[in-house]
């Protein structure tokens, strides 16, 4: 399973409809070990949906998705086990409202991985330290700022020691002054070699951190490129239009 040639995430010809809306059109995308892939595109382009199909929070109509070469299992214990190895960070943080920050980070390692209480706690404290919210550990989510909540949510995902992390617009719900602190944590993760698939609107961050940019529009991947080429001379007309619409703002 540690074969470095097998992509960690491998999406093959995925198609999906929401009723009449064709949200994913023949998507093929792979993310290799240690790679940081950033998906950008206009809203409604299907990038969040794609991100959510990878741990089957959304199903696909046809095609297949493999994690380390293994197809995603259908609903059940095997799917839960697979999900536990892929970290996910949401736009709206989604911390458990009735637990303290520390309990949030300890819960899944204890319940899902049956890890020893003391070890789970120590690791959680290390992770909270790493994302800079250790001093908030005994508060409940509602007492934290959005940026702090999102960093705690990243710690919660990391506590499962995931093979890859999915970020679904992690800074879109944050006040501008809090975006930086979350992006800093993500940049550090990328530097540590974490395999990451990131949906974001933060273009400077994408340019700095991505190994590869995937540009989506109307449910299809329009362009896959290096960050430098994508932002300096995109190959596709739609990518050019998208980037210039951002500059006009």
């Amino acid at each position: 399973m540690t074969d470095n040639n097998v992509p960690v995430i491998d999406v093959r010809h995925a198609d999906k409809h929401f009723g009449k809306l064709h949200v994913l059109r023949d998507i093929s995308l792979s993310v290799n070990r240690g790679e940081v892939v950033v998906i950008i595109g206009p809203s409604g382009s299907g990038k969040s949906t794609l991100c959510r199909t990878i741990n089957r929070l959304e199903t696909i109509d046809s095609g297949e998705i493999l994690i380390e070469g293994v197809p995603i299992p259908p609903e059940g214990k095997k799917l839960a086990a697979m999900r536990s190895r892929i970290g996910m960070v949401f736009q709206s943080f989604n911390l458990f409202a009735h637990m303290t920050i520390l309990e949030n980070v300890v819960a899944a390692p204890r319940s899902v991985l049956r890890r020893n209480k003391k070890e789970a706690r120590e690791e959680a404290l290390r992770l909270l330290e790493r994302v800079g919210v250790a001093d908030q550990k005994d508060k409940v989510p509602a007492q934290l700022s959005g940026g702090q909540q999102q960093r705690a949510a990243i710690a919660r995902a990391l506590a499962m020691r995931p093979k890859a992390m999915l970020f679904d617009e992690p800074t879109s719900a944050l006040d501008p002054e809090m975006i930086g602190e979350v992006l800093t944590v993500m940049t550090e993760l990328a530097a540590d070699g974490m395999t990451m698939l990131i949906v974001t609107h933060e273009m400077n961050f994408a340019r700095r951190v991505a190994d590869r940019i995937v540009f989506m529009d109307e449910g299809a991947i329009v362009e896959e490129n290096t960050p430098k080429e994508f932002f300096e001379c995109p190959r596709s007309r739609r990518a050019r239009d998208f980037l210039s619409s951002l500059r006009d703002r």
Binding site: R85, F96, H98, A157
Partner: protein, 219 residues
Amino acid sequence: MSISALLDKYGSLYLQAMLTTWRLTVISFAGAMLIGLIVTVIRVCPIRPLRHLGDFYVQIFRNIPGAAMLILLVYALPYLKLNFPYETCVLIATVMIPSAFCSEHLMSGMNTISPGQIEAARALGFTFFQMILRIVIPQALRSAVLPLTNLLVATMLTTSLASQVPLRPRDLTGIVSYINTRDVGGVAAFAISAALYCFTGLALGRLGGWIDRKVRILR
């Protein structure tokens, strides 16, 4: 008879009746919570026919009058060769009916949980039961303390069904009929029971309010 004369003569019986009502209330509410929790889990489980079964249970027991159910239990079940003691019949009614209401309160408690938290739990690899136990039930319970307090008081009042069968020792309602068939207690005999119901209900209300403040979830 005056209230003080009644208390002189029947004070210890009233006390015993109050303790009986308390005992029936505790057993009924504990049973109702347990069954209510189980029914609620069934009503949100991934298997559709089971969900319908859970909904059906709630519709049946939410809509059946307690007295009608008690009559069925006491007079109809013996035809099926099921002879339960009177107290068991009363308790079946005072558990099943409040359990349906309990489930409804827990369902509305669940609705306070943001869908995102459920997605997060699934994304972390929680199985259905792990998620129910660690995420859903704790939040549903903590959000439903006040309605459940209501239910506890209502359950206590429902235990007055015990007065309709020859239960010994008598409950707070049963004791009134007992006294009024022996003495001329009149309204005063009722008033004492009413005061004891009231006292218990107020105390439970205070307790519920206190628990709610302790466990309420900040959002």
